[in-house]
């Protein structure tokens, strides 16, 4: 089975695509001179650390100049050294892009041939990555709005990046993190989430709810159940989500029912990561397809057919 699903194997991969033949979503987002992500370039990266943080989950920190250009929710497409038999790059979202130190933190699940090779890279190894790719999270339009983050398993890294963006901008938020039985890897990123600057104002102490399907960590149950409880009590302005497709579909449905804006970071098998090949299509409610890599990977949840 190696080689199957090389794209999907990766943690919360974000995308970037070509507006090429996409539908109305894409058209509305074309703001650059040639309709593309004109700053997307090939950059070198050097592995600093690359270690397992839980069963099947690894954290790589690498030095790359593109860290200074990345926005939360965007992704990079890594060339992972190998024998050349697997052609495509490995697209990954990031939990931290430290521009000042040109450092990128990638937390990924080893689920396919590409991420298997990635986990074999050692400190000092070098390669290239393409980036920045895609469109990241958008800030809430209301300055005083409060946000809810809903992350599932390997969808956590871009949500952590989103949390950091909100904290740095003084936007209060709560978070729900879902994981499978015995998944300890979320604890790794939970520490980062809990360590961020507290919500401003005494009336909105941050809630971080963890759910597992058997209650081995946090409460027992689905993220959407926890979400229903939270949104019943809090006037969230916006919901940010990344995780397995069924989970995001449930989050999108609940958000729509409550009339709350929702941004979702989607994952697709990708060819290029910058909109050249039209392989990572996302079906739109308005009809037709957008490209995950270029029009996304962050989409307005209402525009996507779940």
């Amino acid at each position: 089975m190696s080689g199957r699903d090389v794209g999907r194997a990766t943690a919360g991969r974000v995308s970037a695509g070509a507006l090429g033949d996409a539908g109305p979503v894409a058209a509305a987002r074309v703001t650059k001179p040639h309709g593309g992500a004109v700053h997307t370039q090939v950059h070198p990266f050097e592995v600093r650390t690359n270690e397992p943080v839980a069963e099947g989950v690894w954290c790589m920190r690498c030095a790359t100049p593109v860290a200074a250009e990345l926005e939360p929710g965007q992704f990079v497409n890594l060339q992972v050294p190998g024998d050349g038999s697997h052609l495509l790059r490995v697209p990954l979202s990031f939990s931290l892009a430290d521009g000042a130190n040109e450092l990128l933190e990638l937390v990924y699940a080893v689920v396919g041939e590409g991420t298997e090779r990635l986990s074999a890279m050692r400190p000092g190894d070098t390669s290239t990555l393409v980036g920045p790719c895609g469109n990241g999270w958008k800030m809430p339009s209301e300055a005083n709005g409060r946000a809810l983050l809903v992350a599932g398993g390997v969808g956590m890294p871009p949500v952590v990046a989103c949390a950091r963006m909100l904290a740095q901008n003084g936007v209060g938020f709560d978070a729900i993190v879902g994981a499978q039985t015995g998944s300890r890897h979320v604890e790794f990123l939970l520490d980062e989430l809990r360590g961020m600057a507290p919500n401003e104002g005494c009336d909105c102490a941050r809630k971080v709810v963890v759910c597992t399907d058997d209650g081995t960590l946090g409460v027992r149950g689905f993220t959407t159940a926890a979400m229903a409880d939270l949104i019943a009590d809090h006037p969230y302005e916006i919901i940010y989500t990344c995780g397995p497709q069924p989970m995001m579909a449930g989050v999108a449905r609940l958000a729509a029912q409550r009339g709350v804006a929702c941004q979702a970071s989607l994952e697709r098998m990708m060819g290029c990561g910058f909109g050249a090949c039209s392989c990572c299509n996302v079906e739109l409610t308005a009809g037709g397809y957008a490209l995950c890599c270029k029009d996304g990977p962050v989409f307005d949840a209402r525009e996507v057919v779940w």
Binding site: G20, H34, A37, G84, H86, L88, G271, G275, A276
Partner: protein, 312 residues
């Protein structure tokens, strides 16, 4: 970079499409060029670009998943020619493609259709709306709705029918993108109907089955295989076709280096397209331009045209 001698002449004519060098891009692997401008100056570097296939009316393309990584230096795709139709294409990309042309790079627009009538309608629209096009490429691998989905150009007769219908509708050069079978016979039929050049090969039909789910790994049972794995097959077909026709060829299939491109030229190709390599190595086509020029120098000739079909 070329050193210690005058740069060789790299310009070629692909059936009347004048190219500053033989390097082109394979339709569907290069967007419409603009995504690659951040990697290198496309218009100032390449001999030509071939745009994504466009039909008279917009096509949604196929559902997901459209792509599978196969290992063995190949990928499998079934995009289904998602495109905004000729009007949408010109509206969205016309200004950009004018700029490509103005920088000295030929723009080749690819024409798609599900019937002979659809090809003709798309060609008429292109003629009217696309002054930036140096020529057209007819994709005869589109499924023929009337023939139950077999490719429009599956036989010499059906390929010739498309070419015969389209020919009177443009005075600009017409290249035909050929499927990887019967290239000598179909090539002769296309030449007889007035094709100015042939481009080959398109992807090779293949299958990839997820043995756990027993389902195809892409949205259709069969899809197109591309990548370095198919290069040797493509070179052989270019060679066979070159012996059969007198019109120029554009070699396509697994080209990822100057040496790969040189093989195509030696086998008989006048121009060469970089395809799948654009996806994982976005600077590839620009590198092929430089490497090909170096190869021409190394061969001790002053004009790349001297090497076309020079396989011994």
């Amino acid at each position: 970079m070329v050193s210690e001698q005058t740069s060789p002449r790299m310009a070629v004519s692909l059936g009347g499409i004048e190219m500053r060098n033989p390097v082109n891009t394979a339709s569907g692997t290069f967007g419409n060029g603009e995504q690659f401008e951040s990697f290198y100056d496309v218009g100032a570097t390449l001999g030509a670009i071939t745009c994504k296939g466009v039909s008279a009316e917009p096509w949604d393309g196929n559902p997901a998943p459209r792509l599978a990584e196969l290992g063995g230096s190949a990928i499998l795709n079934s995009v289904g020619l998602q495109n905004p139709g000729v009007h949408g294409f010109v509206e969205r990309y016309g200004t950009y493609l004018e700029s490509v042309k103005s920088r000295g790079c030929a723009v080749i627009c690819q024409v798609a259709g599900h019937s002979v009538e659809e090809y003709v309608r798309a060609m008429d629209l292109f003629e009217e709306l696309a002054p930036f096009a140096a020529g057209f490429e007819i994709n005869i691998s589109c499924p023929n709705i009337a023939a139950g989905g077999a490719a429009m150009g599956a036989t010499p007769a059906s390929a010739a029918e498309v070419m015969r219908a389209v020919r009177p509708h443009t005075t600009r050069p017409v290249v035909v993108k050929m499927a990887p079978h019967d290239v000598a016979e179909i090539g002769r039929a296309l030449e007889a109907e007035g094709a100015d050049a042939l481009a080959l090969i398109n992807t090779i039909p293949g299958m990839a089955i997820d043995v756990r789910t027993r389902r195809s790994r892409v949205c259709r049972p069969t899809a197109g295989v591309s990548g370095p794995a198919i290069h040797a097959i493509a070179v052989r077909m270019v060679w066979e076709c070159a012996k059969a026709v007198n019109i120029p060829l554009c070699g396509i299939g697994g080209v990822a280096s100057g040496a790969d491109a040189a093989e195509m030229i030696l086998a008989g190709a006048t121009a060469v397209s970089v395809g799948t390599a654009n996806l994982y190595d976005p600077g590839c086509a620009a590198r092929v331009v430089a490497e090909l020029e170096q190869w021409v120098c190394d061969q001790g000739v002053t004009d790349v045209n001297e090497l076309i079909g020079a396989f011994e």
